[in-house]
Symmetry: C2
Subunit: 503 residues, 2 copies
């Protein structure tokens, strides 16, 4: 049997380059009729017009008021004319850039990008066990995210809780600049931190003002406090990112039966209303600024009261969210992830369901695509490696195959006798090095061989892979100079006491 | 938080009834253009016309010869006129019946049916470990298959190796009749065993000749020995099942790079040629007899030389097989399954990929959908339970959701204040008992609760579920009488020495 000589466990570079700039291979599937989509959209507009959003930031209410929305205390009622104008000015396609031009992202419907599990206070691996996140963990997850081509941008996988909050963004931005060259993430935790984070990107990547504002270089995530509440840091983040023309990913987290109506259609109507309110604020702050529609709606588990992920209901919400995003002509972000407490079959299945939900709803950006355990409370290293296998498999599906005469290989079938084998056929020899995806962590040994080697399951084997990725990690060519360029800026701001959070 | 009172771990019966008679929710996706499909089909016809199949059974060669095929030694060359005639007479839809009329299957394109992992010489569970299959194991897997509505028919999950082969079919048919009321499986291991197995079904279900021949009550699986070889038991099975108008599921196992060309298109061209040869033989033996197109093509793993499952290449072959089946107008069978040696994340992911390949290619019958480990060498009980969770989730996706005004719930959104919750909303209270799929083995407890309960992963928890399913198992109402009706028949045939295998 012809075998590759390579002893590497990771896919060879030539193959992983196929995982850049993916295009969805499947037609978007639907759960609602066009009339039903219009009805959900219309209900969302009614919610904004008649019930309104509670918006806690004065500046945001003023922006709405100046544009003609009705402000009454903290409540803002937004007419559909304002929403429609926002939908009109929001771009349906924009560029998300980064240190490495080859990793720039053409953000639009039909494109497909993966980001790792994000926002986890804890992390976990088989050697060091479960622990509160530290800067070391944050840096490791940036390196792991950089290591795999199928991860297309950074997220805050683990919260570095050992760094005081007023200094934390210096470290998270520095780590992304030093260890990575993919599109970066900024937390919206107040104007001061946002401005400094964006300044660090501009400085670190050596961009003049025009270059920086010509494209999105940073992404932030905007969550509403469902139902119908937008807090101060999120509202300010919308305004600041819009003005800087950086990417706002607007993502209500509507948990059906808890913070949202218990039905798929009801949870989506609320999600849609909240997303439209935020998109409208962004477009009021700066018409034409890049926004991504987003949805991370799922259902509550009726036994435990916990958020559930990868459920059939979440899948249907993903399909419906894709329909709503296309209804308003915007690219959209979805998510996968798992509620499992262990890196087990449940964890794999929930993530797989969420990922296929993203594939069939044609989500442009897939967040939490790897490593996300406990509903986001822990980032699991071994889980991340196993999820990379799935992401690479999905990326492979984005590449078609040919059925030319040469590929079909009639001559090979003539060459091989009945009951024979194709191992040595010319058709095989010409192609065996690149014919198939080579597994990352999957083991295909027969039971005896596998057992003889220690009977290690995919959780155990994954340890080797993240360890070797970290041990052999080399920063991108841009990392060292980026770090040098921000050094004085960070030192000076640290001396001044850092930047406060907005509560 | 509103909770169900039920302490049961299995889905309540009212919900699981939704898992009968499933219809595919997704439009079939494609990997080839229509021209490419036609080209693969045409190549398959050329293979049959110019290269031919080696067919080891005299009677089959005679059948071909009498119908105008060119027989030269063991080689049979089949003109496309003969193949086209077979495609014309093969029904595109037929009924697959069983003891319970409510579990009858309308076998056609667009329908979706799951069968468990099949053909495993070994089985494994967490308590009794890995072992060669016995009759006890066979009976247990029939009971587990009967227990879950989402399993729509029986397969030979585990081979009962403790029963001598000449008596084995008496036990496997008896167990299916006694413990189940779903469509049954018969191995094609020679005319004597096939005839006796079919007689046992007719006797056990108390069917007169007309009833028995009016529909398919039994299924057999026909595998070719790729490339281009059909052995004696399989050829005889085709003839015997066709004459009895029972269901032939024709499934070449074309392993790209080993027994088939290394390309997706090439493996499918060979699969298609072999499937068409078998379908043609069936229709020659009895025009109009029910046949299902089938494909279980995948790729060889280049590191180990082993068959791989759930790979991107297999997924593309599934999409292409669906296209080829629709090209000739027949329903088709695909498969999932895993090559993993452990019930781990690899095992889950491989099966999930295979299952979504079946969903997106609109396979009518999905074999090996649960429990199949080690590429079919072991049936894993805990893996089966975890796979049932996925199958139930996919079955849930077959049911749409409404976006009526009542479902959207504008009034609920008005009722709940910003930042509030929907737990007690009237809209929630009316629906919470049935709004969501209730997980079978997934655990949604928070980490502390889960850890306090023993930190059991989904592999460990699944043990409880198969044990309780077996402990509380009640045979269907038809089981006892069916067993009584076959008793004398079996005793008499055992005394005669059983029935020989055909080599």
């Amino acid at each position: 049997m012809a075998r590759r000589k390579s002893g590497k466990n990771t896919a060879p570079p030539d193959r992983s380059l196929r995982y850049r700039n993916l295009k969805h291979p499947f037609a978007p599937q639907t759960v609602f009729s066009e009339d039903e989509v219009a009805s959900i959209h219309d209900t969302a507009l009614r919610v904004l017009e008649e019930l309104g959003m509670k918006i806690l930031l004065d500046e945001a209410r003023d922006t709405f008021s100046e544009s003609g929305a009705i402000v009454d205390g903290d409540m803002v009622r937004i007419g559909r004319d304002l929403v429609n104008e926002a939908i009109r000015t929001a771009p349906s396609r924009f560029e998300l850039r980064c240190a490495n031009p080859e990793r720039a992202i053409d953000y639009k419907n039909g494109a497909l990008f993966f980001r790792p599990g994000a926002g986890c206070p804890n992390c976990s691996d088989r050697i060091r066990r479960r622990r509160p996140g530290t800067l070391r963990d944050f840096e490791e997850t940036i390196k792991l995210s950089q290591n795999f081509e199928v991860i297309h941008g950074f997220g805050p996988c683990v919260e570095p809780q050992d760094i005081p909050v007023q200094f934390r963004h210096y470290e998270t931005m520095r780590a992304q600049l030093e260890f990575g060259d993919k599109p970066m993430f900024v937390y919206s935790r107040g104007r001061a931190q946002v401005h400094q984070s964006l300044e660090m990107i501009q400085l670190g990547l050596d961009l003049d003002d025009e270059e920086f504002s010509s494209a999105a270089w940073a992404t932030t995530n905007i969550n509403t406090n469902s139902p119908r509440l937008l807090d101060r840091p999120m509202a300010q983040g919308i305004i600041d990112f819009a003005r800087a023309r950086q990417l706002l990913v607007i993502t209500p987290f509507c948990l059906a039966g808890a913070m949202a109506p218990i039905t798929v259609a009801g949870a989506l109507a609320l999600q849609h209303a909240e997303a439209l309110a935020c998109i409208t604020l962004a477009q009021m702050a700066k018409p034409g600024s890049p926004v991504s529609y987003g949805g991370f709606s799922s259902n509550v588990d009726m036994k435990s009261g916990s958020p559930a992920f990868g459920t059939p209901e979440m899948f249907k919400m993903q399909l419906g969210s894709g329909q709503l995003a296309r209804h308003i002509g915007l690219p959209w972000r979805s998510a996968a992830g798992s509620a499992s407490n262990a890196s087990d079959m449940q964890a794999a299945m929930e993530n797989d369901m969420g990922l296929f939900g993203c594939m069939l709803s044609n989500a442009t950006l897939v967040i939490h695509s790897g490593g996300w355990l406990e509903g986001g409370l822990t980032f699991g290293y071994e889980k991340f490696i196993n999820d990379i296998e799935m992401l690479q498999s999905l990326a492979e599906l984005c590449h078609g195959v040919s059925a030319s005469d040469a590929e079909i290989g009639y001559d090979a079938m003539r060459e091989v006798n009945p009951g024979g084998h194709f191992f040595a056929a010319a058709h095989t020899m010409e192609r065996y090095r690149t014919a198939f995806y080579e597994p990352l962590v999957a083991n295909l040994d027969n039971f005896g061989t596998w057992n003889g080697k220690g009977a290690r399951n995919s959780f155990e084997r994954a340890t080797d892979l993240w360890q070797s990725a970290l041990n052999s990690f080399v920063s991108p060519s841009t990392g060292k100079s980026a770090r040098e360029r921000i050094r004085a800026y960070v030192e000076s701001n640290v001396k001044k006491g850092g930047a406060p959070l907005l509560d």
